[in-house]
Amino acid sequence: MPLHYYGKVKKLLESLGIEDYDRVRIEKDGRYYEGILMPRPEILDDEHIIVKLDNGYNIGIHIDGAKVHLVRKGESIKHRELPELRFRSDLPYVPLIVTGGTITSRVDYSTGAVVSHEKPEELLDIVPELADIANIDYVPLLAEFSENLTPDHWAMMARTIQRELEKGAEGVLIAHGTDTMHFTAAALAFMLRDLDKPVVLAGSQRSIDRPSTDAVLNLIAAAKIAAVGPIAESVIVMHGSPHDDYAYAIRGVRARKLHTSRRDAFQSVNEPPLAKITRDKIEILNNRFRRRREGRSEAKLDDAFDSRVSLLYTWPGITEEILESIAEKSNGIVIAGTGLGHTPRWLIPVIKRIIEEGKPVVITSQCLFGRVDLKVYETGRRLLMAGVIPGEDMLPEVALVKLMYALGHAKDLSDVRKIMRTNIAGELGSHLGLDVFPPCWGVRHGV
């Protein structure tokens, strides 16, 4: 066992040959404390020892005046009996590509340590319902928090998915951290051409080590969509409400994390979710999607991306220098402007110059909901005259990912413009019904 301590305490414990999870006895001010030495999170000081007492509680004991004794070396974490994994010939094969996040980890209650799953059996142990939906296999790919992912990781995922589809998967599940899940979902939508099976991302807002985890429903719903759902697109499947009774399948290029912590943080922007999934059935809410095709997948990998693209959120008082310095380091810029897609007037000459240098500038809106419109006001018209590409009803993040794709496929500004203005994966030109804005969601869902 390693020792998760630093500084003063580390020195003391090392001198006594004590490591994490060893049984220790500490004498302090005439009283004894006995229990298991717990690892100490790095954010805390180097003056306390954490001991798990026999009553289950952890306490921190300051080492000043404390006499520490090793009682006995710790036992390694016990392996648990796991349910047996059985192949069912009546169920489709669905691989689960593991990229990280809390959805595939568990807590060891005797130590409190969080450990990663290594086998699908461990997931089935927590979500046994999966065994009746598909034959699920683990494809370990990454172990990263999603904020650390890069366009290179997207390409790795796309390659893995394509390989799994070639092998005969009926759909692919991706376990993913939630922070940037919508970036990945959008990237996969552009990288996997002629997709004919579902590619489903799922995560959890409440980690899977707690009884109230949202992962159970999210995984059941995601597995259903992947195994038998009709949608052959990159989608995100997460809770549709604070209730544990249904999840939504949201088109990857329309999904946005709109809340830091709620279960239903992911919402579909500018179009209704594609489907509502309960424990019993899949209900289609929005018919405009690519259909699943039977037989072996013919999806192709198209991962030419230029990741030197920036996303700039403008603000009142933003200066020309900032835009200039960003432009210097980028091959293209997406601006999340205000309102209908505006920037302060003094940025416009800079934008014009950037475009003249051959770098595309795409305009989207901080409002997220609605479509940019550069014809209505003077500022917008001047931006158009400067040569910006209106991002229409695309989310800023989706425009960013798409611009990476576009620059990976075209160098000429007019070709880039053509790609950006063409709907590739459902990211452009949706029908903006009156039911797609949050205050109207109640009407839509009948809540």
Binding site: L44, H48, N55, G60, R106, R210, S212, T213, T260
Partner: protein, 633 residues
């Protein structure tokens, strides 16, 4: 009959749960209980992995065996995302921690250097997260004890934890909770099992409750404090009895628990002497529905009509034991019925010792006995329901019957209003705690520095100072302490010249009796009490008028004591006029009796002026005017 507790090896430990008067432990919501309907409900499920259930936690296991929906009632204004488990917890409420450390120091317990919040797995739905957040704040040693008449009781641990959600109703398929209560800070003070007499438990609970209240920072009122009692006797088993709210019930609960354990041990002896073995209890479950097809029992008829079936098992060697009383009004069969309810979700069972009965005939009993191959000395259990619940029910009943051969099972039991207890769930294992990684540990050094030296006085010191300084009787002083109005009493009794015993009884007995009459005394503010003290001292308010004045304030009839006095006070001139009227009305009597008519006059006058002017003034004035009147005539 009183047992020889010493000889029985009675051991009792208390766990006192007291809500603190502070905002919620992990968010800034107020610790207010609501009485109105929640604004909306959210539906959740709790999951826990099968492999972790097995060895570690029988309590969690049994709950999760039932796939239940949990509905949580939320209030948009006084509950937030934290209670709904839609957001991580905020840092630990330091005010609550400060109060807890204060309590620790008052009891001479040792606060830990660094407080770590843990998650204790609870999957009955009473926490939206599926765990209760709890932290060990202080531990006891040999110096931390209270002295009772029966000897010292040492403190073991002091924890700060979040209160659970309030259960509205439940069925085997779902349970509804309200989130207003979830997250209120709660201290859990556990004693060592030093208590050896039922009455000692009551005294210890009373003393500890008073110490908690001496902080001035705990919630008061029904439900804000409750005791769990751990009871065991030699040869029996430890029971955790939950949720005792009345102190006076504590000794009775312990006595009856002793009786129950002794009875169970007797039952064990008897079963063993009858030669009953575990294997024979494992008899097959038999569908005996056809035997009741023409039953005249209403219960049976109604259930069969609804499509239910009747299942039975033989209870080998249990004849006469199922009906045996183990606590007043509770039989061994009742214990089995508890298991049936909890594990099978059925309303109850029928057993051979109570049949014929419930409309079930002698003939039906005979045919059931035959169908279940009962021999002499055997009894049987019947349950009405569907196959699944009947199987869960009868299997749990069998397990409980098997345990009768071993003795007393470890259980978590619920206190019943009469002092009995009923089975709630198996005693939870201890391996169900892990760190709450969303909350950083808190170093207690600063708080300790701030709190020590500024500890509140202990209850007995407060009471003896009330006795010596204000001349209260010890009883009245304790009552005043228990009422929580010591501070206001002290302040006003020092500031104004008022009869302190009378004023103390206003704050204690008068308010109590007004409350009994249903008058909302909580509407009376400290300002109102101050007015009472001031006008009493100025002679503008009569002692006799205080009840009416305060009742009027509480019900909203008057907005202030001043307003009451305006409508009720008499000037001395007005008093004289009333006295004069009485004198002339009674002139014949006065002529006969002279000063002997004083009582009569006084009575006549008081009829009109009671409560409007101090009685002693009236008496003095009546005496003077009467003398004058006699002299004049």
């Amino acid at each position: 009959m009183e047992y020889d507790y010493d000889k029985l090896g009675l051991k009792v430990g208390l766990e006192i749960h007291q809500r603190l008067d502070s905002h919620k432990l992990f968010c800034n919501c107020p610790s207010n209980l609501r009485e109105d309907e929640p604004h909306t409900w959210i539906k959740r499920r709790l999951g826990i992995s099968y492999s972790e259930l097995g060895a570690l936690d029988p309590a969690a296991r049994f709950e999760s065996l039932r796939k239940r929906d949990f509905l949580y009632g939320i209030y948009y204004d006084t509950t937030c995302e934290v209670e709904a488990d839609e957001s991580p917890p905020h840092p630990l409420n330091e005010d609550a921690l400060r109060i807890t450390i204060m309590i620790a120091l008052m009891l001479k317990m040792r606060p830990v250097d660094e407080v770590h919040v843990m998650r204790k797995i609870v999957v009955d739905g009473s926490n939206t997260t599926g765990f209760q957040r709890t932290a060990l704040v202080a531990v006891g040693d040999d110096n931390s004890y209270i002295e009772t008449k029966w000897g010292p009781v040492r403190m073991a641990t002091l924890c700060l934890e979040e209160e659970s959600a309030y259960i509205v109703d439940s069925t085997p398929e779902m349970a509804r909770y309200r989130l207003d209560r979830l997250g209120i800070p709660l201290v859990e003070l556990a004693t060592q099992p030093d208590i050896w007499h039922p009455d000692q438990a009551r005294e210890a609970a009373l003393m500890l409750g008073r110490i908690l209240r001496a902080t001035g920072r705990v919630q008061r009122g029904i439900g804000t404090i409750r005791q769990d009692i751990n009871v065991s006797i030699e040869g029996g088993a430890r029971q955790e009895i939950k949720g005792v709210q009345e102190l006076d019930l504590i000794p009775e609960i312990i006595r009856r628990e002793v009786q129950r354990q002794l009875s169970l041990l007797e039952i064990r002896e008897e079963l063993l002497s009858r030669g009953v073995v575990e294997k024979e209890i494992d008899s097959p479950i038999v569908d005996v529905t056809r035997l009741f097809e023409s039953s005249s029992s209403k219960v049976v008829k109604r259930s069969l009509y609804r499509g239910a079936k009747v299942f039975g098992i033989r209870a080998k060697g249990f004849k006469g034991i199922l009906g045996r009383e183990i606590q007043p009004g509770r039989r061994f069969g009742t214990e089995l019925a508890d298991y049936a309810r909890v594990f099978g979700g059925v309303k109850g069972i029928l057993h051979g010792d109570e049949l014929p009965g419930y409309g079930i005939s002698e003939e039906e009993v005979t045919s059931v006995r035959k169908a279940l191959s009962c021999e002499e000395g055997d009894s049987f259990i019947l349950v009405i329901g569907d196959v699944v619940s009947a199987e869960l029910t009868l299997n749990s009943v069998k397990e409980r019957m098997k345990y009768a051969l071993i003795g007393v099972p470890n259980e978590t039991r619920k206190a019943l209003p009469d002092g009995n207890t009923s089975f709630m769930r198996p005693m939870p294992g201890s391996a169900r705690m892990y760190p709450e990684t969303d909350v950083l540990p808190v170093n207690t050094r600063e708080i300790l520095r701030e709190v020590s030296g500024k500890l509140p006085a202990m209850p007995k010191d407060i009471v003896s100072s009330l006795v010596s300084k204000f001349g209260l009787t010890e009883e009245l002083a304790w009552e005043l302490f228990d009422s929580g109005r010591v501070e206001i009493f002290r302040r006003l009794a020092e500031k104004y010249k008022i009869p302190s015993r009378f004023f103390a009884s206003v704050l204690v007995s008068l308010l109590k009796s007004l409350k009994r009459e249903g008058i909302p005394v909580e509407n009376i503010t400290s300002n109102n009490f101050e007015e009472v003290a001031r006008y009493l001292s100025e002679g503008k308010l009569a002692k006799e008028a205080v009840p009416e004045a305060l009742a009027g304030i509480a019900t909203g009839k008057y907005s202030s004591i001043e307003e009451f006095i305006e409508g009720h006070s008499l000037s001395l001139d007005q008093l004289d006029k009333i006295i004069d009227e009485a004198l002339s009305k009674l002139s014949d009597k006065i002529a006969d009796r002279g000063m002997g008519a004083y009582g009569m006059v006084m009575g006549e006058v008081m009829k009109i002026v009671r409560g409007k002017i101090d009685g002693s003034i009236v008496s003095k004035r009546v005496k003077e005017r009467l003398e004058e009147f006699i002299q004049r005539s």
